[in-house]
């Protein structure tokens, strides 16, 4: 038997991530600085870690209910009300998942069937497209523009939405661009989507990392709430990436069906992480505020650094990424990143890894120490100047 031939074409045909090669290169370098990894450099606040340890000491090592401990779901509802002004029923409208990533996968699989279209504004997090293809559906990219500060515009949606569109993905604050959408930005989007039979998946993992004003969710619009699945989690806000814990909130019929996939594929999210997550939601607003303040300082430093190197860069107001325009160097984003790594030992990720329209940009994360950032900026400037 040719085992390879047994693999389903719609799985095999999904290209592996193009940024793997950089990681292989950087692993062999000693003094390289990585601005490549999209994860907080902070360790999970001690009181959260301690709560996880305590739950183990008490012997809480069993499954939770499929949707997650009800106490955690209640805390999630309190949090969503307190931080996002969104009300959900803990019994029926919340599911605790293995990171936001699982919630995205569940949401997409619950809504689409073969041939349905999923509109994905790009540049974007790489999982939306992958999950769409794995579900047998068709990803329809929208090219967001630097000129629009990578916000989603009605004109873009009008071109992308068809009769087959079942889902529009919205992800702000955005990975990889650092863009945010405010209330006014959403008005024309809401106006366009409110009468259509389309479900919104709003990926709000970076909601806490909003550096100006308050985070706005598309679910904050009354007419959108019932048709929006809000995906959130603990990885970015509470520096809990390795715990793998996130959640989705939305209409109870949708959440109920997502729960069905979740209970067969996953059973429940890890319970140690669930206990830790309760502590995060109950007592860690100050820890979050401290991390956000630190990110904000770094954000200004790294933005200033890229601009001083002569690169155009719109001001990112969310997440922990900057997305400088490198077109004036004459290099492709792949060439730029490869040479920056080989010649100056700084890793950034080519914008093209996040969709074709990311070509001409690079993503640099400032989730690394200030010392590293300052050195990385110095090296980047030296690199750009010699081009």
């Amino acid at each position: 038997m040719n085992v390879g031939k047994m693999i389903a074409p719609h799985i095999r045909n999904v290209a592996p991530s193009g940024i793997r090669k950089y990681f292989d290169l950087i692993n062999e370098m000693k003094d390289a600085i990585s601005l490549g990894i999209g994860e907080p450099d902070f360790v999970t606040p001690w009181r959260i870690r301690e709560e996880g340890i305590y739950s183990l000491e008490k012997g809480y090592t069993h499954y939770s209910s499929n949707a997650g401990y009800i106490e955690l779901r209640r805390e999630i509802c309190n949090y969503m009300k307190r931080r996002c002004n969104l009300e959900y029923n803990a019994e029926s409208e919340v599911i605790v998942t293995v990171g936001g990533s699982e919630a995205i996968d569940l949401a997409i699989r619950t809504i689409v069937t073969r041939g349905d279209e999923v509109v994905i504004p790009e540049p974007s997090f790489v999982a939306y497209k992958g999950c769409t293809l794995f579900a047998g559906a068709v990803p329809v990219p929208i090219e967001l523009k630097a000129g629009d500060q990578f916000r989603l515009r009605r004109k873009d949606l009008e071109k992308a939405v068809t009769d087959k569109t079942k889902i529009v993905i919205i992800a702000y604050p955005n990975n990889p661009t650092g863009a945010i959408m405010n209330y006014e930005d959403y008005l024309e989007i809401v106006d366009f989507l409110k009468d259509k039979d389309i479900i919104i998946i709003s990926d709000e993992l970076y909601a806490e990392l909003t550096y100006t004003g308050k985070h706005v969710s598309i679910a904050n619009f009354e007419e959108m709430k019932d048709r929006t699945i809000v995906v959130n989690g603990f990885s970015k806000a509470f520096a809990m990436t390795g715990w793998r814990i996130g959640y989705a909130c939305g209409n109870k019929e949708i959440i109920g069906q997502m729960k069905k996939i979740h209970q067969y594929a996953i059973m429940c999210a890890p319970t140690t992480a669930q206990y830790a997550a309760m502590e995060a939601l109950r007592n860690c607003d100050d820890d979050v505020a401290e991390m956000v303040a630190e990110y904000n300082h770094r954000r200004r430093v790294v933005l200033d650094g890229f601009r001083k190197a002569g690169l155009d860069c719109f001001e990112p107001l969310g997440a922990f990424y900057v997305f400088p325009d490198i077109r004036k160097t004459g290099l492709s984003s792949d060439e730029f990143c490869e040479r920056l790594l080989l010649e100056e030992r700084v890793l950034a990720v080519p914008g093209s890894a996040f969709g074709d329209c990311g070509e001409g940009f690079i993503r640099a994360t400032y989730a690394t120490s200030m010392d590293n950032l300052i050195e990385a900026i110095r090296r980047n400037e030296r690199f750009v100047n010699k081009l």
Partner: protein
């Protein structure tokens, strides 16, 4: 802006004004001005480094002394506190709630030197009722910095 500057300086007092300005989205001039004001108003009092003396040749012994005093009419504890904190050997001096009154950190080159200082200088002050000396055996954390535990970046490369 001043609060943010204080937060930054309390973690790293060697950082340049230019760097602070970039971090806060202000001009260097504004930062310089704000810091001068805080220095003049005795809000910022100094810029010490946190040093692990154990790793150096220098002998430094530290003790915390619980001091019980009789407060003086009209002046409360301030007068006696002043008599204590004027000694250069006294590194910190705090008025406390609870079973004693002043909590005094004393530094010296040897245990004997510290003990003698307490016996001869602190205990003999008129309104001091009693002292209780606790020598520091090992420092784990100071000024928010842990001495032993340095977190390394062990993040693995992931695709996202």
């Amino acid at each position: 802006m001043k609060n943010e500057i204080m937060d930054i300086l309390s973690k790293n007092s060697r950082i340049s004004n230019e760097q602070i300005a970039i971090m806060l989205g202000r001009t260097e001039e504004e930062v310089k001005q704000a810091i001068s004001e805080m220095e003049e108003q005795n809000i910022i009092l100094g810029y010490p480094a946190t040093i692990n003396w154990e790793k150096t040749d220098k002998e430094v012994i530290m003790a915390f002394i619980e001091v019980r005093v009789t407060p003086q009419r009209d002046r409360g504890f301030d007068k006696v506190a002043e008599r204590i904190y004027q000694y250069p050997q006294v590194k910190s001096c705090n008025l406390m709630s609870g079973s004693y009154d002043l909590f005094v950190a004393v530094e010296g080159k040897t245990m004997k030197e510290v003990a003698l200082f307490v016996a001869e200088k602190l205990a003999t002050i008129e309104s001091v009722v009693s002292t209780s000396t606790h020598f520091v055996l090992k420092k784990y954390k100071e000024n928010g910095v842990s001495f032993e535990h340095k977190q390394s970046d062990n993040r693995e490369a992931v695709v996202l």
